[in-house]
Symmetry: D3
Subunit: 312 residues, 6 copies
Amino acid sequence: MKKLADYKVGESIDLYLLIKQSIKGVTQQGSSFMTLVLQDKSGDIEAKLWDTKEEHALLYAAASIVKVGGELHDYRGKNQLRIKTIRPVKEDEGISISELVPSAEKSKEVLLEELMQYFFEMKNPHIQRITRHLLKKHQSAFMTYPAATKNHHDYVSGLIDHVVSMLKLGKALADLYPSLNKDLLYAGIILHDVGKVVELSGPIATQYTIEGNLLGHITIMVNEISKAADELEIAGEEVMLLQHMVLSHHGKEEWGSPKRPMLKEAEILHYIDNIDAKMNMLDRALGKTEPGEFTERIFPLDNRSFYKPGIE
Amino acid sequence: MKKLADYKVGESIDLYLLIKQSIKGVTQQGSSFMTLVLQDKSGDIEAKLWDTKEEHALLYAAASIVKVGGELHDYRGKNQLRIKTIRPVKEDEGISISELVPSAEKSKEVLLEELMQYFFEMKNPHIQRITRHLLKKHQSAFMTYPAATKNHHDYVSGLIDHVVSMLKLGKALADLYPSLNKDLLYAGIILHDVGKVVELSGPIATQYTIEGNLLGHITIMVNEISKAADELEIAGEEVMLLQHMVLSHHGKEEWGSPKRPMLKEAEILHYIDNIDAKMNMLDRALGKTEPGEFTERIFPLDNRSFYKPGIE
Amino acid sequence: MKKLADYKVGESIDLYLLIKQSIKGVTQQGSSFMTLVLQDKSGDIEAKLWDTKEEHALLYAAASIVKVGGELHDYRGKNQLRIKTIRPVKEDEGISISELVPSAEKSKEVLLEELMQYFFEMKNPHIQRITRHLLKKHQSAFMTYPAATKNHHDYVSGLIDHVVSMLKLGKALADLYPSLNKDLLYAGIILHDVGKVVELSGPIATQYTIEGNLLGHITIMVNEISKAADELEIAGEEVMLLQHMVLSHHGKEEWGSPKRPMLKEAEILHYIDNIDAKMNMLDRALGKTEPGEFTERIFPLDNRSFYKPGIE
Amino acid sequence: MKKLADYKVGESIDLYLLIKQSIKGVTQQGSSFMTLVLQDKSGDIEAKLWDTKEEHALLYAAASIVKVGGELHDYRGKNQLRIKTIRPVKEDEGISISELVPSAEKSKEVLLEELMQYFFEMKNPHIQRITRHLLKKHQSAFMTYPAATKNHHDYVSGLIDHVVSMLKLGKALADLYPSLNKDLLYAGIILHDVGKVVELSGPIATQYTIEGNLLGHITIMVNEISKAADELEIAGEEVMLLQHMVLSHHGKEEWGSPKRPMLKEAEILHYIDNIDAKMNMLDRALGKTEPGEFTERIFPLDNRSFYKPGIE
Amino acid sequence: MKKLADYKVGESIDLYLLIKQSIKGVTQQGSSFMTLVLQDKSGDIEAKLWDTKEEHALLYAAASIVKVGGELHDYRGKNQLRIKTIRPVKEDEGISISELVPSAEKSKEVLLEELMQYFFEMKNPHIQRITRHLLKKHQSAFMTYPAATKNHHDYVSGLIDHVVSMLKLGKALADLYPSLNKDLLYAGIILHDVGKVVELSGPIATQYTIEGNLLGHITIMVNEISKAADELEIAGEEVMLLQHMVLSHHGKEEWGSPKRPMLKEAEILHYIDNIDAKMNMLDRALGKTEPGEFTERIFPLDNRSFYKPGIE
Amino acid sequence: MKKLADYKVGESIDLYLLIKQSIKGVTQQGSSFMTLVLQDKSGDIEAKLWDTKEEHALLYAAASIVKVGGELHDYRGKNQLRIKTIRPVKEDEGISISELVPSAEKSKEVLLEELMQYFFEMKNPHIQRITRHLLKKHQSAFMTYPAATKNHHDYVSGLIDHVVSMLKLGKALADLYPSLNKDLLYAGIILHDVGKVVELSGPIATQYTIEGNLLGHITIMVNEISKAADELEIAGEEVMLLQHMVLSHHGKEEWGSPKRPMLKEAEILHYIDNIDAKMNMLDRALGKTEPGEFTERIFPLDNRSFYKPGIE
């Protein structure tokens, strides 16, 4: 079935879409309107709803599903949708939000299964038990949350998708550099961003929570490791080492890690996190670019444009 | 009784001193010697012990008390002690370490009593209970540890001395700016550096512990607040607010706070900490300087020299 | 009487307002309009005047008082006024500008009296005489100017309000740290920003003067101290010390002080200035914020948002 | 056979050693001496030769082999050799320099063979031909030079060792992220540091050449690619792409790359280079450290100390 | 004849103009329009063309000449042209692009002649031959290209204009500081920006080329010097010195020079380039400013405003 | 007559020398010695005086002239003098300090005459009168002071030497860029560093004064301009413009200018100052370097080494 991203300027659409964002406005002349961001799995698009009334705010609030007819046109270099018809979805049409939000390519169950394989290569019982305990405690959210509100892996199950990809890279590195401790490295990869399930509001229309703003996912997770060790009655250096892995994974104080990596595995964790996030951003930006052209500027990559070679 | 700091170049001494540091060396020609740093309450001094033997290392290890005779001379602008006689103290001479290390002017008991008064101005029961709980848990170390290994309040009971001084300043500010929340501010002041009792090794010959290096006193204390709340079965915003107060008190990411202050009281806590530490450093450096002269460079004050005016 | 800040979106107003800013514009279709910023003591609001003619520019210039009728609406998250009727105030209506601009809570006379008390604690005659001389010379402007064009204490008599608040804080610090020299500290507080009366254009519609741009209030005031000493025939270290207090009060070269503080009192002056300015900004921003919410971003506080706790 | 690194303080040695560095000195009292750095495959050590004469300078110049007897002692925490006997090696003793300098674990022939395998995965004929051409042109030096004068892979054949290790990592990444272009990535890895064979003086007693100082290995290699393309009469985007890979591999302007990476493969090349260099430095530093201890500070890793866990 | 810059707001024009930029747009209501930037030698102006059709895009593409009638009005402090009539120029009207683009005051032939005089003061045959060779190779573009896409010397023949001005300044400096080597200095000035003829797209509607983005004019020119030396069979230090002059002329790594200047002449070249560019920007900005006023902010001069004194 | 700089290692000297610096020391074994820095016009050298007594400190204090016999030797790559005989000069030997300190090549009278010529090109009477007034007021010190304590023009009359050289460069620039205002530029050059006569202690054994440390030469001179204008009863923009020229001549806040240049002439003054200082440092460092070698690192030039080409 044709999706939002498959339509071109000038074409007409008639689709079920999810309202990702909904903002009320008033024109300079004083009449009301609404700006909607509408999405399906393939992407999103902006649309204006002119001359709106009070009741429209509720009808077309964020996270609602609507049936929309209209036409695509180009507004300042970005596609925009001119709405001709719009109505809330009816219950009996049987459309669920999960059909309309982008998500990891693999199912969350498959991803979890892949992740669980890595425990078999871990030997240290303390590290294993703490990691399993925390994974289990947060498993449901961990399997559906995105890894970030934007930029990279910002889709349903993006967090576990990112972690599984990092584990693969971690295994490749541990094979090439056998002095790396797999227990620390794999546990660090699995736990490093679990704090996001508290820092962020959820898988849809994701925002920062108050606790996310005031403490941040790093501190949240370091606390969790501490509590897990208490609950499991585990003492020993492993607790501190795992906390340090999470604490230092942003690599520098100015990037939010109060301690720089002081374990070889912590240094490598920082690199693995970076490479996987950057590959995700680059693949996405280059996917929208023609050979022989430059991508749009990518803010978290120092605002650089990348070139897509014309050669094959 | 005349103390180490009272002697001048050329004078002879005959004193009980504590060995603060003890390092073995070999001259370029191959003979052994030891470099000792000797101290009493008034200050410390370097001394060389020439042509030493294996057994001297044990006899004159750090934290031992010795009876030393010798003469002060100037070596490259710093006083040095030429040792003429040295021997370990005998048990029946009755000299204890506490007589030989600098400490806060007031006794730790007096300081604790002053500190406890501030609880009477606090109203929020959650904040009070968590703060009292953690103070009690770490009370013994909290009353004897220094606030730092060097630079400011780096003496026995320096930590509680610093905290009481900050509380006084906090009260003055809360009086001038009544919108400040005293619960948060006082609790933040009391708790902000308690993590030092884990980060540092102890009141004498203080060094960083492994946990201190890998986690740091901020993270250690944020964990402790989290556990205290669990033990006391306190839930609610107060826990997160207290954690944020401690987390952000270094003021900037590059100074070790993974979150900048986002509470008015957290911003002010950072200032109070700074002012009290700087006044301590400045008073110490200016105390060693003549009117009309500049102090030595003070590294943690951006390596500045300060001028001591000639006017009164 | 109900003021501008008391009205909500949708309500009608009929008020005397001061035109704070007046800018002419042309629509893309070529018709003329004016953008006015209108204010009373409680705040300000933007309004558009459509299809204007040449003569309106004069009639509705900045610093004019007008009688305005209209309705508040929301434009891109900011309140805006839809003007229905507007006319210049008539002389016999007896509205003065001072009724329409925000100002310090206390009267300038009260503030001056409070300030003068601090001279009684000063002992050094040279410092006192120079400070009194310069205060007298610039007294009239000093009592009405704001401390800045925006951000903090940016209202009529904001400068003296800021200085009196700083003196209180200075006194509290001098009581806690008795080694501080009150002569230097109080004189430094009083004089540090007097140069603003040359740097800025006046209490209303405040802008930077050319001299303000090319020299700045710090340099202007350091010159003034030098001249005052000559006029009063005062020689001696005090002149240089006062100049250094003013010169260094921004704390760092990159913040406009060509010398960093090299006097203990200069270091503390920098802190006092900072704390008082920040408390003013924070109280203002938090005053507009609901408990459990974050303030808007505050640019001069590193663009941070602050959280207003929900606890009491 | 026992090597330099196997001896402990107090033991006597009698070894063939290479003079790595030789510097003349005069004592403050005016007598001549020489400071030698002596090495074998296992490491190096400093030694003093007292009361030397003119002719000793030639006899014991850098890159000479000597037979040395003496004893190890500790000087300021570093081992030093007290020379008792020293003489130049005799030709018939059959000692070659290659026996006395550290080198890659695998032979350069084996490393080259491993490297050549990667050409089989490359498809683009232009990229292949340019890469092969430049490899052949500089092959002899490329196989013996170190990758740097110090810090990482600073031994004979260190350059090719580093490149082969990077190729393995590159292959692992290309397998995980199939969108990576192997032609660009492998060619970039092979060529990125070939300019070092001009920038540095040679495999022994390595220093920067004048051209190395004034142009640097990046610029040198970018020129070489340009010339190679001309000689092979290859035109087309590939030339520019290869030049960009080399040009940008330091990642940032301030690290010596006049252009930041603008190709996905260039971004990844920068990471691969970093990871392999850091693993080499970390393994070396941790190899000299006991479990439960911290390494010495590693300057190119932001001067950090790393912790070697006590757990297994 | 009256030019674009001579008209004031409210006046009518009827002029031949060059379309410098042409961008299609759609109003929020969905109708098409075009934004044109129109220029003649005296400057440029923005204009809107409303309700356009498909065919207009071709008719009014960038680099086309048009005959335009209309009226100037002010839009947000910038002049804008309200188009009343517009049509493509006819061939028999005999208007050429060169009549409509700003260019250096002197003709390119005169500038070249001035430049060539400096060869007479050069003595080193290697430096001379390489410089002449490269000048000849790129002469045609070198004589017409701008020195930059904006900011300074951004007009037809701006590059050679900038170079000739720099040569004059170079000669003045060489006269004042006779230790400067004129061969290196003059050759460095002539060659430093020749790479711009590859980095930029041409004299009209100038943009960066792909090669310009990926390699940059510095690297491009350093390659060219290398090739020129090969073609001329010149070996010797001069080649490396010239490469270093070009390589380092941006002065710092973060400004795009992978090596900082390490030759006295390279250091001076950087200053000459800076002074001449800044004088060009300052004269332009001050030319548009009234005495007693400040210029607009000049971005490449750290975003500063400059004051134009009222004195004569 | 052969001077200090003409002797080589191994040669004997017998010269009158000035003691530039004199520092007492004690060996680790406890005997006294003195470290002297001895100079004549050609340069300076370090020497040790062993086994000294109390009275030697006075006899061989800084700024004394001595007759010294001894031998040059090399100590850690620096020449050092082994003293064999030393005695204070006798009055009847008729040696004056001025014969033994380096100074500008031209006499101060000639330099002043050259400087005065530039007044003939100045037209604005206010600027002229203020500049002449301040030159006259400080003329005597201005003609003998160095421009700095080290790095550049750090010799007797170095200040006026630097200013005259800058005036020549200023004239060359004003000829090339006729829009420059010569009044401002020349006055700015003459006045920019006059404050050094207060900031520094004098022409011999130059140090910073207290006022120099607390206020700095920029602030001192800006005050002086202000006072001069008052004394000469000159009002008008010129006073402010001259103050800005001096105030901004370090170019950036972090380099000690509280305002960045906002006048074209101020921007150029900063460049002229820089170029002249750098040429002085470079000529000095390159003068001590052989062709084909690098200079020692030059700290104020970002610690760079410069290459002295082998070509002529």
